[in-house]
Amino acid sequence: MMLQAAFVVVGVIFFAAVVLAVFRIVRGPSILDRMIATDMLVATLICALAAEMVQHEHTRTLPVLLVLAMTAFLATVGVARYVTQQDRPGGPRAEGDAAGTAAGADAARDDTTSGTAAR
């Protein structure tokens, strides 16, 4: 009985952690903050699934843990490849910095006349 109450407390703490992570995903301010919070959310989810397995004494979700541990990093790596200064709060566009406006949008990458020439 005591142990069941302890599992409830553990679940509440995990829930609080997830709520805080979702708060950071919603607030941002940059895409990197969102990806860091997403990584942490997945790690918390893995721990919470393990706690659920201990509570209900089964091992059915072990493959889920394995797949999450294997693939959670792919989204973060994909997004991190394409972060630009425009994603920064108060970034070049907000500052009106001419050098920075060429930095970001992938569309401007091949546009040698407008973007990089201005630099």
Partner: protein
């Protein structure tokens, strides 16, 4: 108190540790000021929290096969968590997603300065694989 009850108690204690580490990461990710320090907070449940949760599972395991299934979970997490952290930190430094006033020491800037100094001495382009300075980020290609 029987052995099974002791194992249950141990499991619950390890789960508490995992939950508190997750909560600490959540608080850190909300309260810390810039992506680099938030990365530091977010790694808590990724390794140590996962280890605690897996130990709690292992204490409840009825056979060796279950314990053996826990090892690759930890192994893959240990392999992949540094990859994403590296990519996020690299992208964050390049695109200046960091607050320099909070840095006590920036060793990467020292390396960049050294590369530029070496290049100037030999009259060549600086050899900076994967490194882009603040002035150069405008034409950075992913």
């Amino acid at each position: 108190m029987s052995a099974a009850e002791l194992l249950d108690l141990g499991s619950v204690l390890f789960l508490f540790a995992a939950a508190l580490l997750s909560l600490a990461a959540g608080v850190g990710i909300v309260r810390f000021p810039d992506p680099l320090s938030r990365m530091h907070a977010a790694t808590k449940p990724q390794i140590l929290g996962l280890v605690c949760a897996l130990v709690a599972l292992g204490l409840q395991a009825e056979n060796g096969a279950t314990v053996a299934a826990l090892v690759p979970i930890l192994a893959f997490q240990m392999l992949t968590a540094p990859i994403s952290a590296h990519m996020v930190g690299r992208a964050g430094y390049r695109t200046r997603h960091l607050r320099r006033d909070l840095l006590i020491r920036d060793e990467l800037a020292d390396a960049i300065d050294k590369a530029h100094a070496d290049a100037a001495r030999h009259d060549t382009e600086p050899d900076l694989p994967g490194l882009v300075t603040d002035e150069d980020t405008s034409d950075w290609r992913p």
